[in-house]
C-alpha cells in the first residue's frame, strides 16, 4: 500500500516537474504579462489534458480520486516555476470541494457532462475571501421556477472571465448567514469587468462581477455556508501552504545558482559569508516548508487526529515564511532580482498574493486559536 502510494507520488511529481520545466519555464515572463498580453490558453488546456485539474476529483466524476498529499505535490512542483497555473487549479478545486462537501456530486456531474471545452469544466470562485470574515455582498432571492436570482456586486471573482460556471457565496434575503450558489457565467444578468490587475498570479485572472437577477442554483442547505467553507478551507489550507513551499523552492534554487555564477569582490558571491548566511536561512526554510506540508498532507489523507491543526498551521507558517524568503530571493540577485527577466520578482509577488488565499492572514491565526479554545 505504502509502496503504491510512493510510486503514485513519484509519478505525479515527475509529470508536474517536467510540465513545469518544459511548458511553464520558457514563457514565464510572457505569460505573466496578462492581462496586457494574451491568456495562456494552450497551457491551461495541456494541463487539463494531463489531468492536473482532476487530482482531487473522485473517480466517479472521472477524476483521479487522489488525496491531499498528491494535490500538494502537484501544486508544489508547478509553483516552483510559475504559481499562476497552480492558482487556477487551486481555485477550481476549492469550488469543486465545496460542492462535493454539500452533496452536490450530481450537480457537478451534470455540469461536466454538458461542458463543451476545458473552461466549461472550470469554476470561478472568490478564492481570496473568507465569506465569514467580510460579508458577501451578493443577495439571493427565490425565483418562481424553484431557482434563485442573484443580485449585487462581487469583487475579485477568480477565473470569473474564463470559467463556464461560478460558485458564489450569497446571503438569502431574510435569512442569516450565507450559502453557496452555482451560476452559469454566460447567463443573463452577469456583468463582468475587465480582468483586475493584481500584485501576483497575473495569469490566474480575476474579475469584478455584478449580478442583476442572474439565475442560480442553491448548493447545500440554506445558512450552512460557513460550516461548509470552514471545513473545506481547513483542508485546502494545506494546498495553499504547498503552493508557498513550491515558490520557496524555486526561489532558493535560483538564488543558489546565481550566487555561484555572480562574482563581486573577486569571488563568487556565495563565498561571502553574509550571502551564505542568507542562503542558509532560505535553505532551512525550504526544508521546514517541505516537511510541514508533507506532514500536514499525510495527516489529512490518513485522517489523523488533529489534521485540522496541521493544515492550518502549515498555511499560516509556510505562507508567511514564503513572503520573507522570496524577499531574500530577490536580494541575493541584487539589481537583476528586481527585473522581469529573472523569476525572483514574480515569486515575491506570488508568495505575497498566496498568503491571502482563503481570507485575511491574521484572521487565520485567530481562527486557529478559536478552534483550540472551543476544545477546552
Amino acid at each position: 500500500m505504502l509502496a503504491t502510494k510512493e510510486k503514485e507520488f513519484k509519478m505525479l511529481e515527475k509529470a508536474a516537474a517536467e510540465f513545469a520545466r518544459k511548458e511553464l519555464s520558457p514563457n514565464r515572463e510572457e505569460n505573466d504579462k496578462y492581462p496586457f498580453g494574451p491568456f495562456w490558453d494552450d497551457i491551461v488546456k495541456k494541463a487539463f489534458d494531463l489531468d492536473f485539474f482532476h487530482v482531487l476529483l473522485p473517480e466517479t466524476l472521472e477524476g483521479m480520486g487522489l488525496g491531499m498529499q498528491s494535490f500538494c505535490i502537484l501544486l508544489e512542483n508547478i509553483c516552483e516555476v510559475d504559481a499562476s497555473l497552480a492558482g487556477i487549479i487551486f481555485t477550481n478545486s476549492m469550488a469543486q470541494e465545496i460542492i462535493l462537501a454539500t452533496g452536490g456530486e450530481p450537480v457537478l456531474k451534470s455540469m461536466m457532462d454538458t461542458a463543451t471545452d476545458v473552461y466549461g469544466h472550470l469554476f470561478a470562485f472568490p478564492a481570496f475571501a473568507n465569506p465569514s470574515e467580510i460579508e458577501p455582498t451578493v443577495t439571493a432571492v427565490p425565483a418562481d421556477d424553484g431557482r434563485y436570482e442573484l443580485s449585487g456586486p462581487m469583487e475579485y471573482l477568480v477565473l470569473g472571465n474564463i470559467a463556464g460556471n461560478a460558485l458564489i457565496p450569497a446571503k438569502i434575503k431574510g435569512k442569516t448567514g450565507y450559502v453557496f450558489f452555482t451560476c452559469d457565467m454566460a447567463s443573463d444578468g452577469v456583468e463582468k469587468s475587465e480582468p483586475v490587475l493584481s500584485l501576483g498570479l497575473h495569469a490566474c485572472p480575476a474579475v469584478d462581477v455584478r449580478f442583476f437577477r442572474a439565475k442560480a442554483d442553491l448548493i447545500g442547505d440554506a445558512g450552512n455556508g460557513k460550516a461548509v467553507f470552514d471545513a473545506v478551507s481547513t483542508r485546502m489550507q494545506c494546498a495553499a501552504a504547498a503552493m508557498a513551499a513550491g515558490i520557496m523552492k524555486g526561489s532558493f534554487k535560483e538564488a543558489f545558482d546565481y550566487s555561484k555564477e555572480r562574482f563581486q569582490g573577486g569571488r563568487q558571491i556565495i563565498k561571502w559569508s553574509e550571502v551564505q548566511m542568507i542562503l542558509a536561512e532560505m535553505a532551512v526554510q525550504v526544508k521546514i516548508a517541505e516537511t510541514v506540508v508533507e506532514q500536514a498532507g499525510r495527516s489529512i489523507d490518513e485522517k489523523q487526529k488533529g489534521w485540522e491543526d496541521g493544515s492550518q498551521a502549515a498555511a499560516i507558517h509556510v505562507c508567511q515564511m514564503a513572503c520573507d524568503h522570496t524577499c531574500n530571493g530577490i536580494q541575493i540577485l541584487g539589481g537583476v532580482g528586481y527585473m522581469k527577466d529573472y523569476g525572483q520578482e514574480k515569486r515575491f509577488r506570488d508568495a505575497q498574493q498566496i498568503q491571502s488565499l482563503l481570507g485575511l492572514a491574521p484572521m487565520k491565526k485567530i481562527g486557529y486559536i478559536h478552534r483550540k479554545m472551543q476544545r477546552i
Binding site: 475579485y156 490587475l197 563581486q264 569582490g265 550571502v275 536580494q331 509577488r349
Partner: protein, 499 residues
C-alpha cells in the same frame, strides 16, 4: 556633582559625537529652518494632491502595459513646479530651499508615489555627485542648464552612472573595487578622454540630459584611478541601451548607457583622483571620500523613501481598517488589528527617527553644514540675483575657487566626521527600507484581497519598496559599511571585508 571629573567617560564608545548628532546639530541650525521646513512640506503636499495622486496609479498601469513608455508628462510637471532646482542654493541659481529640508520633502513625495519621488530624487543623486567633485565651473554650467530647462519648460535632468554589468556592490567600496570586474575605461588622449564600456540600471537615464559617469583610467587599479565625467545626451559615441523591465518603481526608467569610443573633452572632466596633486589625501582616499560624500546624502535620501512608504502602507491599512467590517465588526475595533496598526505606526516612526538622525549627522559632518548652519543659511536667504550673477558666477569659473573648495572639503573633513556621516547614512538606509517593506507586507496581510488589487494602491507600495533594499548599495553592503565606520573602528583586530 559638577566637581566630579567624569569628562573622560564621554570619549568612550559609543562616542557622544556618534549618538548625539541631534543635540549637537540643533544649536547650529537657525530657528528659521522650522518655517522653511513647514513651507517645503506643505508645498510637497500640494504637489502630491494636484500632480501625483491623480496620475500615480494610472501611470503605473500604463507602464505595466507599455514598459518603454517615458513619463515626460510627470517630469514636465515636476519641472514646472520647480522640483529640479528647489534644493539648489540661490547663489547658483536655484530656489534655495535648504538641503537640510530635502529629506522631509522626499518623504512626503515618497508617501504618495515612490517612482515619482525617484524621478525627482535621482536628479539630486546626479547633482550631489557632481557637487561632491567640487568642480565649480562644471557645476555652474550644468546647474545653468537645469535652471534654463525650468524656464523653457524643457526639463534638464542629471543622472549618476556608476553601476556596471559586472560590478554593482564593488563600485561602492574602494576595498572591493580592485578585485572587481569594472570595465568602463577612460583613456587619456589629446584634449580629453575616450570612454568605452557600459553602465546599467541608471535611474532616469533615458530622460536625463546630463550624466555624471564614474569611470576608471586604469582598470587594474580602479581604486586609485577614478574619474568623474559629465556626459551630455547626444554626445558622439554615447547611446542608450535597454530599459529594464522592473517589478516596481515603473515610472522611473532604469537605463543602460553605452559608451563606444566616446570622446569627453577635458572641460567635462569633473574630477580625476590621481591628478589632485595638491591634496594631502591619497587617490584612494579621495575616491572613498567622493563615494562617502555622495552616499552620506543619498542613503539618508533612500531612508526617507523607506519612511515615506512605511507611512503610505500604514495609511492604507488604517483607512481599510476604519471602513471594513470583519467578522461582524469594524476591523479597527479588533484589538489585534489595533496592535498591528500601532506596530506599523512604530515602524514608520522608527524609520523616520533613523533618517532624521542621519540628516543631523550630515548637517554636522558633510557639505550640508555649509548651507544649514546659521551663516550659510542666512547667506542663502539674503542672496540677491545681482550678487549671484556678478560675484558668485564669475568666481565659479576660476580654477582657484575649485581648488579652495576642494581643499576645504576633501582635506578639511576629519576621518571621524566622514565615518559618522557614512555610518548613520547606512543605518538610516537599511533600517528605513527594511521597515518600509515590513509595513507594506503588514498592510497586505491586513487588507487581504483588497490589498492585492492594483486599483487600491497597496500592492504597488510593496513592489515599489523592494527596490529600496537594493539600490544605493544593498542593505547587506550598508550593514557592512555601518560596521566598518561605527563599530569595527573600535577594534584594531577588525578587518573590512575579511574573507
Amino acid at each position: 556633582m559638577k566637581e566630579l571629573d567624569v569628562s573622560h567617560y564621554i570619549y568612550r564608545e559609543p562616542r557622544f559625537d556618534d549618538i548625539m548628532c541631534d543635540l549637537k546639530a540643533l544649536p547650529v541650525l537657525p530657528k528659521a529652518m522650522v518655517k522653511e521646513a513647514q513651507w517645503a512640506i506643505a508645498y510637497a503636499r500640494k504637489f502630491n494632491e494636484e500632480v501625483i495622486h491623480p496620475q500615480c496609479l494610472s501611470l503605473d498601469r500604463k507602464m505595466h502595459e507599455n514598459p518603454d513608455y517615458l513619463p515626460w508628462d510627470f517630469i514636465k510637471a515636476a519641472n514646472e513646479w520647480g522640483f529640479y532646482t528647489l534644493f539648489i542654493p540661490k547663489a547658483i541659481g536655484g530656489w534655495g530651499i535648504n538641503g537640510f529640508v530635502s529629506p522631509f520633502v522626499n518623504e512626503e513625495i515618497a508617501a504618495a508615489c515612490l517612482s515619482m519621488a525617484n524621478l525627482i530624487g535621482v536628479h539630486y543623486l546626479g547633482l550631489i555627485t557632481l557637487f561632491s567633485t567640487f568642480n565649480m565651473r562644471i557645476i555652474k554650467e550644468i546647474v545653468g542648464d537645469v535652471k534654463n530647462g525650468e524656464k523653457t519648460g524643457e526639463p534638464c535632468l542629471v543622472s549618476l552612472a556608476i553601476t556596471e554589468p559586472g560590478a554593482g556592490t564593488d563600485v561602492e567600496e574602494t576595498d572591493l573595487i580592485d578585485k572587481s570586474n569594472v570595465a568602463c575605461h577612460a583613456e587619456k588622449v589629446d584634449g580629453g578622454y575616450v570612454v568605452n564600456g557600459s553602465k546599467i540600471f541608471i535611474s532616469s537615464g533615458h530622460v536625463s540630459t546630463w550624466h555624471i559617469v564614474i569611470c576608471y583610467t586604469d582598470l587594474k587599479k580602479p581604486s586609485e584611478n577614478v574619474i568623474a565625467l559629465a556626459v551630455k545626451t547626444g554626445t558622439k559615441g554615447f547611446s542608450f541601451g535597454r530599459m529594464e523591465k522592473k517589478m516596481g518603481q515603473k515610472a522611473c526608467p532604469a537605463s543602460e548607457l553605452v559608451f563606444e569610443d566616446c570622446f569627453v573633452p577635458d572641460k567635462y572632466v569633473c574630477l580625476v583622483s590621481d591628478e589632485l596633486t595638491d591634496s594631502r589625501l591619497k587617490p584612494v582616499e579621495i575616491h572613498q571620500k567622493l563615494i562617502d560624500y555622495v552616499t552620506s546624502a543619498t542613503r539618508v535620501g533612500v531612508g526617507c523613501l523607506g519612511s515615506g512608504v512605511a507611512k503610505a502602507a500604514y495609511d492604507k491599512a488604517l483607512k481599510f481598517a476604519s471602513e471594513t467590517r470583519v467578522g461582524g465588526k469594524l476591523l479597527l475595533n479588533h484589538e489585534w488589528a489595533q496592535c498591528m496598526l500601532a506596530e506599523m505606526y512604530k515602524n514608520w516612526m522608527s524609520a523616520r527617527l533613523g533618517y532624521v538622525e542621519g540628516n543631523y549627522a550630515n548637517t554636522l559632518y558633510t557639505t550640508q553644514n555649509d548651507v544649514a548652519k546659521k551663516s550659510g543659511y542666512f547667506m542663502n536667504r539674503i542672496m540677491t540675483k545681482w550678487f549671484a550673477n556678478r560675484v558668485v558666477s564669475p568666481m565659479m569659473d576660476k580654477p582657484a575657487t575649485t581648488r579652495k573648495v576642494r581643499r576645504q572639503h576633501l582635506d578639511g573633513q576629519p576621518l571621524s566626521a566622514q565615518q559618522c556621516a557614512s555610518g548613520w547614512a547606512s543605518l538610516s538606509k537599511f533600517s528605513g527600507t527594511d521597515l518600509g517593506i515590513k509595513n507594506c507586507q503588514m498592510a497586505l496581510q491586513l487588507m487581504g484581497q483588497a490589498g492585492l488589487r492594483h486599483d487600491r494602491g497597496a500592492e504597488k507600495l510593496l513592489r515599489d519598496s523592494k527596490l529600496l533594499q537594493i539600490y544605493e548599495g544593498t542593505n547587506q553592503l550598508n550593514r557592512m559599511n555601518l560596521f566598518k565606520n561605527m563599530i569595527g573602528r573600535g577594534f584594531q583586530q577588525a578587518m573590512d571585508f575579511p574573507e
